[in-house]
């Protein structure tokens, strides 16, 4: 079984995709069958992921590769392939497990939706596409699945297509990520031009192996940055982060999937996958491309954390926290902590899915109320949701020891503090940690403490089908921390392939204290500020201008509206004008010339050639009419003519003689 799955790893993405297509084939009335097939497909993918995970445990740095030729043109052949290594195996396990929880949750959350089965078809497809990104052993194959992920996110964000805002958000997500993908694709082309292969691992000849990397030389920085463009778009990094909060228009399980397991994880995963290209020519682990990654991550992380403090939509707060956390991961990758970044990605997958599903449970319990000012006091009304949400909140804030997010965040801080290029990112990240604890405290106080506002007193706990996934994810968010501690960094050693001895001294590093103090500070400020939270936010009262700035997302959308979009609109108008008057005029001019010559030749034809032909035919007809009179059809007339002819010949002969 083990060897079987390592050589058939393509089955893992294929199963959910096939399940999705099957569900579409069932039609919209097969609701139970649709959900059943989706969940079964996800369970199958999870099982296969576990079996694929097993062999990677035995061998350090295990790497199973199957390449095949897609097609051949001339001398060149385009080869694709699948790879199974610790990075892929760990990602698959997280994606399928989180995906399964989300699928099961969706059965309850979407129970009343009329397009229930279509939703599950898209979810399956989404999950399968993301698994494809993870197991691809070719940048081209990765790009194909990458775009499929984009398509699935478009379909799901715009799932409630009858809402104009959902349709707009879907378009925004698709187009914004497309800007990044443009750069990504250029990077792929350039990479192929330089190294002649897009396979990652190909027995020493792949583009991530020594020969391929050597072929890149000085262009590596530009190629890496172009590829990073794709990651910026997909992972919602500044300046292409604007689509991610708008993607909240989709159903909440979709948000959970996008923010935890799929889509945004793809960008971070991509950077981790092609990390050797970023790291070419590194001095002390610093390269120009990695420095860009770090600063983009820092800007994104800090900006999103600030914006999150001033949002009122329960899902938007989580959305900005995702953007912020993704920035953190990018920083980690940039400073060389690839394992730390991926560990945070995996841990984040669990607790962010938990938070989004918890938010979904709140929204479901409040009959689609998303404004945290009209919630409150849900602690007693929705105890399971509250408990699990609190676990997620602790993990996201980075409370050490018991929660997975705490260890990974500490790991990232540790890696960042050791970055030789600059210490500034480290201090910015510390501010980010305080802000994260602050906005999560604010959210949880608004939603679960105090007295119910609005219609919140009618809230009810969600059914088991929704709470059980929450409990499973909460357990994961806590239990996952066992393999993350610096004392026994099992996951890190698994990802990097270095052995990790148990060392209890490392459990208490100074950074732990820093982390603890900062998180504590965030909580304290949060509690002090929002203790008596009401309809008006305390920060809003104290600093209305600042709050408005943050509430409106730093007016980045508006800035884009005035600059990039206005420019695009202007270009479109100019093009339209050119099309209408210049090009169209040219075409019309040529058409007029053509028409003129047409008329000329028509006259010549009518007057000269046709007349001549007519005359000829008239003549022929008249002649024929005369001649046809001779043909009476009377045989004897003909015979008589013959006889006369003969007599004439005889007379002629006689005359000659």
């Amino acid at each position: 079984m083990n060897s079987w799955i390592t050589s058939n790893v393509w089955l893992i993405p294929a199963t959910p995709i096939v399940a999705g297509l099957l569900i579409l084939g069932f039609g919209k009335h097969a609701r139970l069958a649709g959900a059943g097939v989706a969940v079964l497909g996800q369970i199958a993918a999870l099982t296969m992921s576990i079996f694929a995970f097993a062999p990677t445990l035995h061998v350090h740095g295990f790497r199973g590769v199957q390449n095949f030729t897609w097609f051949t043109f001339g001398e060149q052949s385009l080869r694709l392939g699948f790879v199974l290594d610790p990075l892929a195996a760990a990602m698959m396990l997280m994606i399928t497990l989180v995906g399964l929880c989300i699928f099961v949750f969706s059965v309850g959350y979407m129970a009343e939706d009329k397009n229930f089965s279509r939703f599950f078809a898209y979810l399956s497809f989404f999950s399968g596409a993301m698994l494809g990104v993870v197991v691809a052993n070719s940048l081209l194959l990765l790009f194909i699945f990458w775009e499929l992920v984009g398509l699935a996110s478009y379909l799901l964000i715009g799932f409630w297509i009858e809402r104009p805002s959902a349709a707009a958000a879907a378009k925004k997500a698709f187009i914004t990520t497309r800007i990044g993908d443009m750069g990504f694709f250029l990077g792929i082309l350039w990479l192929y031009h330089q190294s002649g292969t897009l396979l990652f691992y190909d027995a020493g000849r792949g583009c991530l192996e020594n020969a391929g990397l050597a072929a890149l030389g000085g262009t590596a920085t530009f190629i890496a940055l172009l590829i990073f463009c794709g990651a910026v778009g997909k992972s919602g990094q500044f300046p292409l982060h604007v689509w991610l909060p708008d993607a909240m228009e989709g159903p909440t399980p979709v948000s959970a999937l996008i923010h935890a397991a799929t889509m945004v994880a793809a960008g971070v995963f991509l950077v981790a996958r092609v990390y050797p290209i970023f790291a070419i020519g590194a001095v002390n682990g610093v390269t120009p491309s990695l420095t860009v990654v770090v600063w983009i991550g820092v800007i994104t992380g800090l900006m999103a954390a600030l914006i999150a403090v001033a949002q009122f939509d329960i899902k938007r707060i989580l959305a900005y926290s995702t953007v912020s956390q993704l920035g953190l991961m990018m920083v980690s990758l940039g400073v060389g902590g690839v394992a730390a970044g991926i560990m945070h990605l995996l841990a984040h997958g669990f607790f962010k899915a938990l938070l989004f599903l918890g938010a979904g449970s709140v929204i479901h319990g409040l009959h689609h109320e998303q404004d945290i000012r009209r919630t409150g006091g849900l602690r007693k009304l929705m105890p399971v949701t509250f408990t699990t949400y609190a676990v997620g909140m602790m993990a996201l804030s980075g409370v050490p020891f018991f929660f997975s997010g705490g260890w990974t965040k500490e790991e990232i801080l540790h890696a960042t503090s050791n970055w030789p290029a600059s210490h500034a990112p480290y201090y910015f990240l510390l501010i980010g940690v305080v802000l994260t604890a602050l906005y999560m405290t604010r959210q949880i106080i608004y939603v679960f403490w105090g007295s119910p506002r609005g219609n919140a007193d009618h809230a009810h706990e969600s059914p088991n089908v929704m709470t059980i996934p929450l409990i499973v994810l909460a357990i994961c968010a806590i239990a996952f921390s066992i393999v993350l501690t610096p004392a026994w960094p099992w996951l890190e050693s698994y990802l990097t392939g270095h052995s990790a001895p148990f060392d209890s001294h490392l459990l208490l590093r100074p950074i732990l204290l820093v982390s603890l103090v900062l998180v504590g500070a965030g909580f304290t400020i949060g509690v002090l500020l929002y203790r008596r939270a009401q309809d008006v936010d305390p920060v809003q009262r104290a600093q209305p201008a600042l709050f408005r700035f943050l509430e409106n997302k730093m007016w980045i959308d508006e800035v884009y509206d005035r600059t990039v979009i206005a420019l695009a609109a202007l270009a479109a108008r100019v093009s339209d004008w050119m099309d209408r008057y210049v090009w169209d005029g040219l075409v019309r001019g040529f058409a007029a010339i053509g028409q003129f010559f047409g008329a000329l030749t028509m006259d010549a034809d009518e007057g000269v050639i046709n007349a001549g032909v007519d005359e000829t035919t008239d003549g022929a007809r008249g002649f024929g009419r005369v001649m046809s009179r001779l043909h009476s059809g009377q045989i004897q007339t003909y015979l008589g003519a013959l006889a006369l002819g003969m007599i004439a010949l005889l007379l002629f002969y006689a005359w000659l003689a």
Partner: protein
């Protein structure tokens, strides 16, 4: 008996045949007229052969016999055509058989 007598007989027979072929309306009579003209031609052959300087070799007779054989075949084809025409048009009067009219 001189050559001219035979030639006169031959011409007379040919003219009678031609007259028959031109004037009779019945297809079979026209055929008979044509046969008469052919017979006149055969008489010519025989006569010229009989009064030639070296009549020893039977060339003229051979040509005549050959020509009669052809005439027989021609008569068979002609009669078959007449029958076919009759079946198709229900007449053998050549006045009415003017489908070849231009």
């Amino acid at each position: 008996m001189t050559l001219s007598i035979w030639l006169i007989v031959s011409v007379a027979l040919f003219c009678i045949g031609l007259l028959a072929a031109l004037s009779r309306r019945h297809a079979i009579f026209i055929l008979i007229g044509i046969e008469m003209m052919l017979a006149a031609a055969n008489i010519n052959f025989i006569a010229f052969w009989r009064f030639a300087p070296q009549p020893a070799q039977p060339i003229g007779v051979m040509v005549a016999i050959f020509s009669i054989a052809i005439a027989a075949a021609e008569a068979a084809v002609g009669l078959a055509m007449v029958i076919a025409v009759y079946r198709h048009f229900h007449t053998t009067s050549v006045d009415q058989l003017d489908r070849l009219k231009g």
